[in-house]
């Protein structure tokens, strides 16, 4: 076995190894991302996270909306507790200032809950009056350099 055949052998071996490696990699990539369009495929979101990426969203705002919704529920329960404690103050108070205290407590709770429930519209009207566009806060757009947000095409696209 001369030096040339030895080199050829090594080259063949390494090529075989590399091709096997790449084929395994490709199968894995295709398993993870079924709709591979690019050469290297897409990065597939892990389970749970992929439910936030339903309509080509990156899911940050969907997640924030869920958190806000949860906060609204917590605020509603808190308002209920506040009204119950206000009634308890009425029952147990001996001084005449209880009437004012209870009224303030219930009124403040209800106003706070109303602000939370109407926060969407409040944010919309504020952004409409300041930016001239109601969707500026509620449906934000992040523009990168050269990217046309409205068409969604990257700058290198034909």
């Amino acid at each position: 076995m001369n030096r040339r055949t030895k080199l050829k052998n090594t080259l063949n071996k390494s090529l075989f190894f590399l091709s096997g490696f790449f084929s395994v990699m490709l199968t894995k990539v295709q398993l993870v991302a079924a709709q591979t369009t690019d050469v290297f495929g897409e990065i597939a979101p892990p389970p749970g996270v992929d439910q936030y990426n339903q309509e080509a969203d990156i899911g940050v705002i969907v997640f924030a909306s869920r958190i806000i919704n949860f906060g609204a529920i917590v605020a509603g329960i808190w308002t209920l507790i506040n009204i119950i404690t206000a009634g308890w103050i009425y029952l147990t108070a001996n001084d005449s200032s209880a009437h004012e205290k209870v009224g303030n407590k219930i009124l403040n709770s209800v106003i706070g809950l109303a602000i939370i429930a109407l926060s969407y519209t409040i944010a919309g009207i504020i952004s409409l009056l300041i930016f001239g566009d109601a969707t500026f806060i509620l449906n934000p757009e992040i523009e990168s350099v050269g990217t046309n947000v409205r068409s969604g095409m990257p700058p290198w696209a034909p």
Binding site: E55, V60, S65, A123, G124, T135, N139, V149
Partner: protein, 124 residues
């Protein structure tokens, strides 16, 4: 201004917390419309609460009248209570018309608030 929601990298935007007064799709017109609806709803709620308070007040005054007996001062306070309740309810119901008249006098269209708001929106 038309927006293609699916192509926005941040998706379709925030979801509303309450379905009653917040618009389903955010546009300039729908936000202004729901603001006007909120103000109408608040006025309606205040009117209904005021009507309930009037009923309660009226019956408390009637009870006071009955229990005052030959105390003429008690009768007078009860009658004043009734009268003030009636005046308050009438003013509350006629408030809408008063607001319209005042808005007409000062030149601000307070009844058609949508046009008034849209007039001060900056051009984007």
């Amino acid at each position: 201004m038309s927006k293609l929601l699916a192509q926005n990298p941040l998706g379709s935007g925030f979801k509303r917390t309450s379905d009653s007064y917040n618009p389903e799709v955010v546009t300039n017109d729908s936000i202004v419309e729901s603001v006007v609806n909120i103000i109408s709803g608040i006025i309606g709620i205040i009117t209904v609460v005021g009507a309930i308070f009037f009923i309660v007040y009226f019956f408390i005054a009637a009870f006071q009248w009955v229990t005052s007996g030959d105390d003429s001062k008690g009768v007078e306070t009860a009658r004043n209570k009734m009268l003030q309740g009636v005046i308050g309810l009438v003013v509350m119901v006629l408030g809408y018309s008063f607001i319209g008249i005042i808005g007409r006098i000062v030149g601000i269209d307070l009844i058609n608030l949508e046009d008034t708001i849209m007039n001060v929106v900056p051009e984007s």
